[in-house]
């Protein structure tokens, strides 16, 4: 069905370049609705229409509902939306950098690098700084993601050309090394630390706090500062490094900015929610099927769709086996895995090239 929808959209290619005008506001509207449903859903059901009152502090709201919304549901909903947005946006930028729709922070080892650095911080950092180490998590996850991205780019790109097979295999290798080192740390860790690791390896939004929400917003704002450097440059990079250079792009600056932006977004997402896969892969790819791949529209649209999807996945994760909770990484992998296979099959020609 997706294919049928896609082809009927493509046949009206005349409006394809302008579709972001409908898609972006539509996704924004959908996000508001999804977020409201997410806040209302849970062990204690809250009436949808009482939400505005609770959020605006009206006197009609019960204390119980106000506490649930403000200290549990709202931070979790915001965190899910922000993490989804960060992952999808970082996927879109990473794909632009590698000129390849199969790049994803989870698949190519960037997330594993972040996880390793985060786990390092917990195990080694706690001995050095005590509980303050937790606050360093976003920064260390960023550094880990940054190192993994730089390493991968060095391996996979030669003479301005990124080789898909090298990129995917290099990513597998980096992921394996990072996982092995993470395993060593787990072996050395205490009972308490061990419990925290499950969270990292499968991904979870449980334990959302306002502090985590604030750290994601801060890192996303930092990544946003790099945005003017990136949008048109990544479009031009789609033709290759030397063509982008001929069109006036400072390719070295562009690549550095893209790597830092990806690492900021992936790092902070990993630091608050562990490794959640496939959002960064699937979202930009689906969008490119229906709208212009120009990054100035693609990245914001990806952020919005990523936010929507991760909110939905989180609702599934916390309701499907209630009162227990499924790690959200399992939900995104169940949906994203098959989509990735489908992309591999339809991209066979490019992979062999």
């Amino acid at each position: 069905m997706v294919m049928a929808v896609t082809s009927s959209w493509n046949s009206r290619a005349g409006v394809r370049g302008e579709r972001h005008l409908i898609l972006i506001p539509g996704l924004l509207l959908a996000l508001v609705v999804t977020a409201a449903i997410s806040i209302a859903t849970g062990a204690v059901a809250i009436e949808l229409f009482s939400l505005p009152g609770i959020l605006l502090g009206s006197e009609a709201a019960t204390v119980r509902d106000t506490v649930i919304v403000w200290s549990v549901r709202l931070p979790r909903t915001l965190l899910a939306a922000l993490v989804g947005a960060a992952l999808a946006a970082s996927g879109a930028v990473l794909q632009g950098l590698f000129r390849n729709p199969l790049a994803d922070p989870g698949l190519v080892g960037v997330s594993s690098g972040s996880v390793l650095a985060a786990v390092c911080t917990i195990v080694i950092g706690q001995n050095l700084f005590g509980s303050a180490a937790t606050r360093l998590l976003p920064v260390s996850a960023f550094v880990g993601g940054l190192l993994a991205t730089i390493l991968l780019y060095t391996i996979a790109t030669r003479n301005g050309r990124t080789y898909t097979a090298t990129m995917l295999l290099g990513g597998v290798a980096i992921g394996a090394i990072a996982m092995a080192l993470t395993g060593v740390l787990i072996f050395m860790s205490t009972e308490q630390q061990l419990r925290e690791f499950t969270f990292w390896s499968l991904g979870s939004l449980a334990g959302a706090t306002w502090e985590k929400v604030a750290s994601v917003i801060l890192f996303m704002a930092l990544a946003l500062l790099l945005w003017p450097l990136l949008a048109r440059g990544l479009d031009r990079l789609a033709l290759g490094e030397s063509e982008a250079g001929h069109m006036g792009v400072n390719v070295q600056h562009l690549k550095r900015a893209a790597i830092v932006a990806t690492a900021l977004l992936t790092g902070v997402a990993v630091s608050v929610s562990g490794a959640i896969g496939f959002i960064g892969l699937v979202v930009p790819h689906l969008l490119r099927l229906v709208m212009s791949p120009r990054h100035i529209f693609l990245v914001p649209a990806a952020a919005l769709l990523g936010a929507n999807l991760l909110l939905l996945a989180d609702m599934i994760a916390r309701t499907i086996v209630a009162p227990a909770e499924l790690p959200i990484g399992i939900v995104t992998a169940c949906i994203g895995g098959p989509v990735f296979l489908w992309m591999l099959i339809t991209n066979v020609r490019q992979l062999e090239g």
């Binding site: 290619a13 390849n100 479009d235």
Partner: protein, 257 residues
């Protein structure tokens, strides 16, 4: 405007270009011909700054090439490479617009794109997906892109168009259309440097011909003087005659080949 002084370049131990001296002039269409592996593309890449010479210097408009930033150069010269792949599904109009400088007025963009679509026989293609076009159509889109980049670039100073085998995938009609469009672009401020394989296209459209062999510039002169049976036969290793029709030259295979 472009000067190459004693430029050499090698890959590993193999010299690709040896002591090349060349001047490109605004207002002229310079065509480079030569057998495979003669160093034509390498010379083009040296002049566009893609490669850095091992020795010798390249000057553009009185300044050493490496002192130009990529943004400054992009306003003054546009480059069509031999093979270009596109990673994402852009439309034809989007590909053509990639070369525009940031902050160009929308109205100017539309006017320049419309003219390029006309010059390269691409009307009606602008909303098609680039990846779904044939090889020749894609080549014409890239030509339109580099021409738009050059036209929307700097309003002062000399400018140059570099084309590496721009007509290799085109049918005869579009070969002629394309090279005519390039000629129409020439002005006292704009020159072009074009690599071609077809000697008669070179003879028809070039003001000046550079003949390369084995990394050396074997000849560099106005078309009427550069195209001689003797040098063509020596360079290409096939016996050829050059017929004169007034100013024009026509290259033919010699009998017995």
């Amino acid at each position: 405007m472009f000067h190459a002084l004693d430029v050499s370049f090698s890959r590993g131990k193999n010299p690709i270009i040896s002591n090349a001296n060349l001047e490109l002039r605004a207002g002229e269409l310079t065509v480079v011909i030569g057998p495979n592996g003669a160093g034509k593309s390498t010379l083009l890449k040296l002049l566009t700054g893609d490669l850095t010479p091992a020795s010798g210097n390249i000057w553009f408009d009185g300044r050493a090439l490496q002192q130009w930033s990529s943004r400054e150069l992009a306003a003054r010269r546009a480059v069509l490479s031999q093979s270009t792949t596109l990673a994402f599904p852009f439309t034809v109009r989007e590909v053509i617009s990639l070369g525009f400088p940031d902050g160009l007025q929308v109205r100017d963009r539309h006017a320049i794109v419309a003219e390029a679509l006309h010059s390269f026989d691409l009307r009606g293609f602008e909303h098609r997906l680039f990846q779904e076009l044939s090889g020749g159509e894609q080549q014409r889109v890239h030509l339109a892109r580099v021409v738009c980049q050059l036209r929307s670039g700097a309003t002062e100073g000399p400018k140059c168009l570099f084309l590496d085998e721009p007509v290799s995938n085109l049918d005869i009609k579009h070969q002629i259309h394309t090279l005519s469009a390039v000629r129409e672009l020439l002005s006292p401020r704009i020159g072009a440097f074009v690599i071609l394989h077809d000697l008669n296209l070179a003879a028809t459209f070039a003001d000046r011909i550079v003949i390369m062999r084995g990394g050396h510039i074997a000849a560099n002169d106005i078309t009427e003087r550069a195209l001689t049976a003797k040098i063509l036969t020596a360079v290409f290793g096939v016996r050829m005659n050059v017929a004169c029709h007034g100013e024009k030259r026509r290259v033919e295979l010699a009998e017995g080949c």
